[in-house]
């Protein structure tokens, strides 16, 4: 954004008016930018519940998007007044949906991290994705424990969408494959309602989405292609799907 001066409520109104007239995704993006501080402020109120602030901001942003899409200028309410309950609602829902899975015992967190490495090793050795029993053997734990660890790895998906997860620190970040990304966008834009959401995804997530659902590549193959672990691909895919789902949610006519 080139604007330096603090934005005013008038600016917000102008942007909404233009958005209503043109439907321009860039204006929508500008409105998101303008109100991120509000999301951050609200997300902070939930930060002592054991979830990273980045994740909460991301969840709150989904609420913000919904609010932007549903906001009606003519109702004469300030946007921030209108958006606050939607954003808070989204955050509350996030905690409710996570249920008991929020707290993962340390033992499981450790096994989950160890599993990540073992999965990569075994995938390399076998030339395909390993089974649970193969993982149990390699890790010298029971199948139950493997399942638990995988499950917790999923439930405890604290990595934010575009942040490299701490377990892949040394993985190469090679996502510059412009050709494929163009194809991804073309394919995905077939679903018109998705286009504005997909534009908000970081490059890498777009690529993963495309490779899995349009090229039919397996998670292991994508992991190799993108240079991150299979478990990370799995987490990212789940998150991408729920992000798209939330953003696409039909208007539910709450108004």
């Amino acid at each position: 954004m080139t604007q330096e001066e603090p934005y005013t409520r008038e600016d917000t109104k102008k942007l909404f008016r233009r958005l209503q007239e043109t439907g321009d995704p860039e204006i929508r993006a500008a409105l998101v930018q303008l109100h991120l501080p509000l999301v951050e402020y609200l997300a902070r109120r939930f930060k002592d519940r054991g979830e990273p602030l980045d994740d909460l901001i991301q969840v709150g942003s989904v609420g913000l998007l919904k609010a932007i899409d549903r906001f009606d200028l003519d109702r004469g309410v300030e946007f921030s007044t209108y958006a606050t309950p939607t954003i808070v609602g989204e955050l509350k829902r996030y905690f409710r949906d996570k249920g008991w899975a929020v707290r993962v015992p340390r033992r499981l967190q450790e096994l989950s991290l160890r599993m990540n490495k073992i999965v990569s090793q075994r995938t390399q050795e076998l030339g395909r994705s390993p089974t649970v029993s193969e993982l149990a053997q390699a890790a010298e734990v029971t199948e139950e424990e493997v399942l638990e660890a995988l499950e917790s790895g999923q439930a405890y998906s604290t990595t934010s969408l575009d942040a490299p997860s701490n377990d892949d620190e040394d993985a190469p970040q090679r996502v510059e494959r412009m050709g494929e990304n163009d194809a991804a966008i073309e394919n995905l834009e077939y679903f018109a309602s998705l286009a504005p959401l997909i534009e908000q995804l970081p490059e890498r997530e777009r690529q993963i989405l495309y490779l899995r659902f349009f090229k039919g590549m397996t998670q292991s193959k994508i992991a190799e292609e993108v240079g991150i672990s299979q478990m990370h691909v799995s987490r990212l895919l789940s998150r991408i799907l729920s992000f798209l789902r939330e953003g696409m949610e039909p208007d539910e006519s709450e108004a």
Binding site: R93, R96, D97, K98, G99, A101, V119, L126, G127, R128, S129, P130, T131, V132, S133, L135, E143, V146, L147, L150, E151, Q154, A155, F191, L194, R212, F213, F214, G216, T218, Q219, S220, K221, Q230, S234, L237, S238, L241, L244, R245, M248, P250
Partner: protein
């Protein structure tokens, strides 16, 4: 040859009913992941199925009319079959074949079908076992 008692000879299934709320979806995922994992599916396949059951259930939730979402996981010699169903409002199809959901489910399952009959919708997904796990089979 040793035969373990209780070893499946033909097919066997696990069934479950959960209240139709978003908070219960994780239970469905867990059960599907647990079944597929114990059935010696690969990690890629296990994850695909977990994601698939989640997607199917989310779509059902939007149209649910009854008090439960029902899951049946059946394993037979060559595949695992997941059925996720609920009583649904009649108005429109739960998963349109033109939708993004359909695309996702199709990529995740080897076979996909949606049965909509008399106010019930059931998403049926099958994931095939790898032909021979011992073989060094790339991709």
């Amino acid at each position: 040859m040793t035969t373990v008692t209780g070893e499946p000879s033909t097919s066997q299934s696990v069934e479950m009913r959960v209240p139709p709320t978003a908070g219960h979806l994780s239970l469905l995922r867990t059960v599907v992941g647990g079944c597929a994992g114990r059935e010696d599916f690969t990690l890629d396949q296990v994850d695909d199925l977990r994601m698939a059951v989640d997607e199917a259930a989310v779509q059902l939730l939007r149209h649910v009319a009854g008090d439960a979402i029902e899951l049946t996981v059946t394993s037979d010699e060559d595949a695992l079959e997941i059925r996720v169903g609920a009583e649904t409002k009649a108005s429109q199809p739960v998963i349109d074949r033109e939708s993004f959901s359909w695309t996702i489910l199709q990529a995740l399952a080897d076979e996909l079908d949606v049965d909509a009959l008399e106010g019930r919708t059931t998403v049926v997904m099958r994931k095939k076992r790898l032909p021979d796990l011992q073989a060094e089979d790339p991709t």
